[in-house]
Amino acid sequence: MASRDEVLRAVRRGQPALVEHPGTAGLGVRFPDPVARFAEVVVEVGSACVRAPDLAAADRALRLLPVHRDARRIASLVPGVGGATFDPGAVADPHQLDGLDLCILPAELGVAENGAAWIDVRNFPHQALFVIPEHVAVVVRADSVVHDMHQAYERLRHAKGFALFLGGPSKTADIEQALVIGAHGARSCTVLLVGGVESTPGVRP
């Protein structure tokens, strides 16, 4: 307690006269077609993007991709998508999730300006499910896509627990600035963008 009071006292001694908070009104970007923009930027940040008219079509499209075809242990937190072979809720210890090949995650919203998806981990059986699998797929509803980060934070509610903006697969450029995908977390990220299109290109129903 002594340190707390001492630090706060020193801060009060040092801090200048109060200046106003400028607010964040007037900032931001608007896109003619935010969903199309989101789909573009998702690819820019290193993810793959598959557009599908509904969840069933997203499921069919995902099953055609190598990340799904080559996966043995699959967990899905989105009912109806991915054909789970493994229930992460059945293990008590998150360490047992090592070796999970693919996990399908639900997103609360997508952000057009940077391709990020807000993933609320509070209802997941384990916090690690977005980072420990070899690959992840994220289901983003087209009608949840906002233009920019300001709009995103207007909608988000911050209750107890963990949530994140996922902006692509795990990556690093720490060796001579060469981009390498798959540093510690997922080696790939597939965004399944659901709604707002008639059909999924290349996937027969």
Binding site: V7, V11, P16, V29, E44, E113, L164, G167
Partner: protein, 455 residues
């Protein structure tokens, strides 16, 4: 050894200095592309500056608000006056729980506090998990850049280091393969560590949450597996509201490496189910800087590294030529506030070109601060004797017009008649890597009088 002397050693290897220069410039160009894609970029910078100025003007209030809200969420908040107290708190938390191995994600604050050697001396293994930090840790070096810790190393050198320490095949220098080797090695440590330590990019007073940003996901691996999460933050990291995050997050990754956002922007609101979360709030000289007038603006820094990448002096002299662990313009204004005598050379490690101030996402007036610190250095009598004498002479010559004219005439004559080695010696370092220009036939004043009559 001051910055100039260390930098002289660095530039001895001309090819390497050039390579380092290009590496930084490449990142700077990525930043430019990222910034240009944002139509309201300059408005964002101004708003970020103003939000930080507001936050610093009510810092004690926001720290108390953050503490109350973080506590309500189930986190335990600790306060440390200095590095020693911070290390003692962190060690206490680990030791009480019998932690033998801790995985740590990037945190310049724990570097500043010397946490790794402190814990290692007490029998706790620390694995740095950011790839760049892991590389320099294995190489027994501090980071040479705040965002790209191993920017000074070539891939072949990292390959050789990994061959020695991780058993990769000799001669392996492919970044993909080297990263994979580090991934495998560190995954074992993530799975066996009993605690994770992270830094804090932003602490939000309104919510009591902290935000940690990485591209690799190392902070997330380190906090979602072991039961204990310790987050170390400087007092200046607190911002008022969650909505303010939008401003800073739009600026941060673009300024750092030109990405629209980092891969993992993690919001921690209290511990995870069955886990523990501790936040250590550290002063260590920051409250004193807060009281140093205009210099306090340096506390707004969000550690993006843009000022390093753009700085012609940083790029050509490398991170290790600075006397403080945060190199580049921002380090050169933070370090003198701690110990002016020890870092008296840093305000001079700049051409004052102002590029650092132009790229800073929170508009810190870096080059003005560097100049102001030079004045402090002179006022405190810390200038080297040579520079002091030269400045006195210059002041004398500039004060008297007749002396100025005489000196000009003498210089023009000397440049014509004296042999080159003598001229080189007289001009100090200036002619070391270039020729002096030919002596003009007359001064500007004389030419003006000849063509236009009396000035």
């Amino acid at each position: 050894m001051g910055h100039a002397e260390s930098a002289a050693l660095f530039v001895r290897d001309g090819a390497r200095a050039h390579w380092h220069d290009q590496a930084g410039w490449w990142v700077r160009q990525r930043r430019d592309a990222g910034a240009k894609a944002v139509p309201d970029w300059e408005d964002l910078r101004e708003r970020a500056e103003a939000i930080k100025a507001h936050a610093l003007s009510n810092l004690a209030g926001y720290l108390e608000e953050f503490e109350a809200n973080a506590t309500r969420l189930g986190a335990v908040v600790h306060w440390a006056r200095d590095a020693e107290e911070h290390n003692r708190i962190v060690h206490g938390l680990l030791a009480e729980r019998g932690v033998k191995l801790v995985v740590k994600s990037k945190s310049m604050l724990t570097e500043e506090c010397g946490l790794n050697p402190y814990l290692e001396a007490r029998g706790i293994e620390v694995a740095d998990t950011d790839l760049g930090e892991r590389i320099v840790q294995l190489n027994h070096q501090p980071p040479s850049h705040i965002v790209i810790p191993a920017i000074h190393m070539k891939r072949e050198e990292i390959g050789e280091l990994f061959h020695r320490t991780l058993g990769t095949p000799a001669g392996l220098a492919d970044p993909q393969a080297l990263t994979e080797a580090a991934r495998q090695d560190l995954r074992r440590r993530f799975l066996s560590a009993q605690a994770g330590i992270t830094g804090v990019n932003f602490a939000v007073a309104e919510t009591g949450g902290i935000v940690v940003v990485t591209n690799e996901g190392n902070a997330d691996m380190g906090t979602s597996l072991p039961p204990l999460h310790v987050a170390s933050m400087g007092i200046e990291k607190v911002i008022p509201r969650a909505k303010d995050l939008a401003v800073f997050l739009r600026l941060l990754a673009r300024s750092a490496v030109g990405q629209p956002i980092s891969s993992y922007t993690s919001h921690f609101h209290g511990p995870r189910k069955g886990g523990e979360m501790h936040v250590v709030i550290v002063d260590n000289g920051r409250s004193s800087l807060l009281g140093q007038g205009g210099f306090r603006r340096a506390l707004a820094c969000i550690r993006c590294g843009a000022c390093l990448n753009t700085c012609p002096v940083y790029r050509r002299s490398g991170g290790y030529s600075y006397t403080w662990l945060i190199p580049g313009p921002i380090g050169s204004v933070l370090a003198p506030a701690r110990d002016l005598a020890a870092h008296a050379s840093l305000p001079f490690a700049s051409s004052l070109c102002g590029s650092c101030s132009d790229v800073c996402p929170v508009r810190i007036d870096l080059h003005h601060q560097l100049l102001a610190w030079r004045r402090e250095v002179a006022a405190r009598g810390l200038l080297p004797a040579g520079k002091r004498t030269a400045m006195r002479l210059a002041s004398l010559v500039l004060r008297y017009a007749w002396l100025y004219r005489l000196a000009g005439r003498a210089a023009r004559l000397a440049m014509r008649v004296l042999p080159r080695p003598v001229l080189g010696w007289l001009s100090g370092g200036w002619s070391r890597q270039r020729e002096l220009p030919p002596a003009p036939e007359a001064s500007f004043r004389e030419l003006y009088r000849r063509t236009r009559g009396q000035p």
